[in-house]
């Protein structure tokens, strides 16, 4: 069993709200300073940057899950995690078609730039990523599960875009083993889930500011699910990182 320091909600320069300084190199160096063992890139409605960050992270011995932060039809932010880059990429390409065909206005929303490991711009995303998909919350959760992924509602206690703000209560019959919150504990409506903390970093010095330590056998989605259930000595706890990073 290992204790993995994990920050599973990090934006890159591809998210319009993410700083341009959020390159793979900057993110991974910040994660290393915070002694993180596991990270996930979760840009708005796209997994395009997950592969390049995973390559950079591997060189620092940091494991990755491949994620996205979906915005469902009801304006709920929902994190989706996959074990491998291919599944995440395929999922990402399919949900792209469910985004409204509205152009980004960089002066208003921010730039949507994809870069490689050397911080060279390789793509400028034209379509606004920070927008609601034509996909309902329950359908999104089911789709993620069907692809072998893990769905975790993001900042459930935040107004707007948190699950509870948008939908008032957790929809009936939806199983959510983990739920992310800004607060010290989950709202009563989310009592069936286990609390996780992540940074939701949009700039390098925020990476790992809030994190979750998972006691698991390996950095996989299946193990995170087992940790949520407290199975066979597994478990998790939430933690504040070092403010501003170490060194």
């Amino acid at each position: 069993m290992r204790d993995l320091r994990a920050d599973l909600h990090i934006h890159t320069c591809l998210s319009p709200c993410g700083e341009l300084t959020m390159s793979p190199r900057a993110i991974v160096e910040a994660a290393a300073r915070q002694r993180l063992d596991l990270i996930a890139i979760t840009d708005h409605n796209t997994a395009r940057m997950t592969g390049v960050v995973a390559q950079a992270a591997a060189r620092h011995g940091i494991a990755c899950l491949y994620g996205l932060e979906l915005q469902t039809q009801e304006d709920v932010h929902l994190l989706a995690y996959f074990d491998d880059a291919q599944t995440a990429q395929r999922f990402s390409e399919r949900i792209y078609d469910l985004l409204p065909n509205r152009d980004n206005v960089p002066e208003v929303f921010g730039d949507q730039i994809a870069v490689d490991e050397d911080e060279t711009i390789v793509h400028t995303e034209r379509r606004l990523l920070l927008n609601s998909l034509a996909l309902g919350f329950e359908d999104a959760v089911e789709w993620i599960s069907r692809e072998g992924g893990l769905a975790v509602p993001a900042h459930v206690d935040r107004v707007p875009y948190g699950l509870i703000a948008q939908l008032g209560i957790v929809p009936e019959g939806v199983g959510l083993p983990l739920a992310e919150a800004d607060g010290e504990r989950l709202p009563a409506a989310c009592a069936a889930s286990t609390l996780v903390w992540n940074s939701d970093a949009h700039r390098p010095d925020a990476v790992g500011r809030r994190l979750t330590v998972f006691r698991v056998l390996a950095p996989t989605i299946d193990e995170l699910r087992r940790a949520a259930r407290g199975e066979s000595g597994r478990g998790l706890c939430v933690l504040h990182g070092t403010s501003g990073g170490v060194g």
């Binding site: 948008q166 939908l167 008032g168 209560i169």
Partner: protein
């Protein structure tokens, strides 16, 4: 004016008739954030929203609002309509935007009070 009359006057499509169509409509609440509706919608009010997630039925039950009218051509899926029928929640649909609906409802209720 009761809910049935209001719906008929404004030409709404009835998705679920609700348990109390004769109940008087006491006012309106407009918004799509369900947590805000849960905290602020009052019994007897008509709720104008584009939110057609199944949770609107639960929120309607808890707040005791008179009924829900889906604006801007939004329509509840069959499963949501079934749930509304089971719960006795009145559910309507209108092609009017939320803005226009609010205006029409406000005018209808104000005319009655004069």
């Amino acid at each position: 004016m009761n809910l049935r009359e209001l719906a008929a006057t404004l030409g709404w499509d009835v998705q679920s008739p609700g348990a109390e169509p004769e109940g008087h409509v006491l006012g309106g609440y407009c918004g799509d954030l369900l947590s805000h509706a849960l905290a602020n919608a009052k019994p007897g009010e008509i709720w104008i929203t584009i939110q057609h997630h199944a949770n609107i039925v639960a929120i309607a039950q808890v707040t005791g609002i008179a009924g829900v009218v889906l604006a801007g051509g939004a329509r509840a899926a069959d499963a949501v309509v079934e749930r509304a029928k089971e719960a006795g929640v009145a559910l309507y649909a209108s092609p009017d935007s939320a803005f226009v609906l609010c205006g029409k409802i406000h005018r209808a209720l104000a005319a009655e009070r004069r």
